[in-house]
């Protein structure tokens, strides 16, 4: 087994007095896709945002590619190759689709994803490149959000609920794109509500329950029922 690209150790994260993560540890192997699942409020988004540098942890460590990045601001993490597709897309509404993507390259780790390569993967954005992001459809906005993260040339792509509010056909297409990215060598962490889809698309699975890791295992070695039990905190404890 190759050494992990991302290692998280004993992470405690607070929002004011509210503790969102309790001693969370996990590791992500280079070139693998990890599904991060759990009920609403389990801490999935918090964990991704902490990895991306949006939220400093109270204690614990985030190591990326052998370096401690726990205290690094987001732009330094992006320059090292961590990019986040935030929950709710969070596009810059007054900028055009293309400008959103260009902004994503502000602190790029590599120029592996120039505009023409992005447009080859997302032809629907190429058609709407001059349109304001706020006027795009939900699926187009999600594609721009992924493209914005890709523009940073990441080696680790964090995707937060990319299928939320999209038609099944669009979700299917997005996941096809993701599997294309994986064949190109990207490492992915995917937060996904749809358990079946998450287990289909990923090699490893981490299930959070009320801010703690309830289950961490290769997808092949767990049954759907075991994951559901961990999801709702039933059984083993």
């Amino acid at each position: 087994m190759s050494h992990p690209l991302l290692e998280i150790a004993d992470l405690d994260v607070f929002y004011g007095d509210f503790q969102a993560l309790f001693g969370v540890s996990m590791s992500v192997t280079r070139g693998c896709a990890t599904a991060l699942v759990g009920a609403n409020g389990a801490g999935k988004t918090t964990l991704l945002r902490t990895i991306a540098g949006a939220r400093p942890p109270a204690s614990g460590a985030v190591r990326y590619d052998g370096t401690d990045v726990t205290a690094a601001p987001p732009h330094q993490r992006i320059s090292r190759g961590i990019a986040l597709v935030p929950e709710g897309r969070k596009l810059f509404g007054s900028l055009t689709a293309e400008e959103n993507i260009q902004v994503g390259a502000a602190a790029a780790a590599s120029d592996a994803w120039p505009l023409d390569r992005i447009y080859a993967v997302f032809p629907e954005i190429a058609k709407r490149r001059r349109q304001r992001a706020s006027t795009l459809s939900g699926g187009e906005q999600q594609a721009v959000a992924i493209a914005r993260a890709l523009a940073a040339g990441p080696s680790l792509l964090l995707l937060d609920e990319i299928s939320l509010g999209l038609a099944p056909l669009l979700v299917e297409r997005l996941y096809e794109t993701l599997s294309g990215l994986r064949s190109a060598g990207a490492t992915l962490v995917i937060v996904e509500q749809d358990l079946r889809r998450a287990m289909d698309a990923c090699d490893d699975l981490v299930c959070l329950l009320e801010g703690r890791v309830a289950l961490a295992a290769p997808v092949a070695s767990v049954s759907r029922d075991e994951v559901v039990a961990a999801y709702f905190g039933e059984g083993t404890s």
């Binding site: 945002r49 991306a52 540098g53 949006a54 601001p73 987001p74 732009h75 992006i78 320059s79 986040l84 935030p86 969070k90 810059f92 509404g93 007054s94 900028l95 400008e99 959103n100 260009q102 902004v103 994503g104 502000a106 602190a107 790029a108 706020s134 914005r148 993260a149 940073a152």
Partner: protein, 298 residues
């Protein structure tokens, strides 16, 4: 012909108002800071021009290559040391901080420079004029108008077509996400503040050359700048130019009828716009929504 003349003189005066206002428009549009010290910083620019031009013995225009970079640096420093820190403590803190700064500047200027009104040495340009048919146009007012157009279109070009401009607009849309996608928000804000204060200083130099100034002139400047921004539409640079021109034309045309009502008319116009179109004349639906939301909070 009197009326045509009044409209032309009003437009030129409006250019000066727009020049004063564009920095205010920029800081509010990007950082959501209402800088109550904006007018006082313009007056500081005028005093700095006075000091430099008397020390060097040249008309104030020749000091601009020194004065504008200095103002830019002061703006950056103010943003990093003062405004940026205040912004982290909610929307009210920057209002209090800039109000305090305004009071400090006015009092320090009174101590350092007395309350005597001053004027700047504008050289030959200050008194020169040319005739357009039967209308006399002052080169100085025309220069202020052209400077306003140049500054506003330059800013608009930078914002629309450069990587810096994209970062500024993205940060203005959503500072948290901007940080998350790798934009270093603090340097972006610092350069915006630098540009805003440099344009204020330039406006201050024109004000000091066209008329006189004293340590308390800043308050009047702030009111006119604020009105131009609101009339034009918050966050719209071209709107600010139109706002300034509408104010200038109103002032001179009403002044043609009765000088006593000229400034009152401008303020009534401001109130009318605020009542009928609270978002201003040239505002996007999004910005208008934000203004409404801010109103609902206040």
């Amino acid at each position: 012909m009197t009326w045509v003349n009044a409209v032309i003189q009003g437009m030129l005066l409006g250019g000066l108002y727009a020049l004063i206002a564009c920095g205010l428009s920029l800081t509010f549009g990007v950082m959501r800071i209402v800088n109550l010290a904006h007018g006082d910083l313009a007056v500081c620019g005028a005093y700095l021009g006075l000091v430099l031009s008397s020390a060097l013995g040249v008309p104030v225009w020749y000091t601009l290559p020194l004065l504008l970079p200095a103002a830019f640096a002061i703006g950056m420093a103010l943003q990093v040391l003062l405004f940026g820190r205040a912004l982290r403590h909610g929307v009210l803190a920057p209002v209090l901080v800039t109000f305090g700064l305004s009071v400090m500047i006015e009092n320090l200027l009174q101590v350092a420079a007395t309350s005597d009104p001053r004027g700047l040495n504008g050289g030959a340009l200050a008194l020169a004029s040319f005739r357009l048919g039967s209308i006399t146009v002052s080169w100085l007012f025309l220069a202020a108008f052209l400077a306003a157009c140049a500054v506003l279109s330059g800013l608009q070009l930078l914002l629309s077509h450069t990587s810096w401009g994209r970062k500024v607009r993205a940060t203005s849309d959503d500072p948290d996400t901007a940080r998350l996608v790798g934009i270093k928000v603090r340097p972006v804000f610092a350069t915006v503040a630098g540009i805003a204060i440099a344009t204020a200083a330039l406006a201050g130099v024109f004000i000091g050359t066209i008329g006189t100034f004293d340590p308390l002139t800043g308050t009047t400047i702030l009111i006119f700048a604020f009105e131009a921004v609101v009339i034009g539409g918050i966050g719209s640079l071209w709107g600010t130019l139109v706002g300034g021109v509408v104010m200038g034309v109103t002032q001179v045309v009403v002044g043609e009828v009765n000088q006593a009502y000229a400034v009152l008319a401008v303020n009534l116009l401001f109130l009318a716009v605020l009542t009928v179109r609270p978002g201003g004349l040239f505002t996007s639906a999004q910005a208008a929504g934000e203004v409404r939301d801010a109103g609902a909070l206040g």
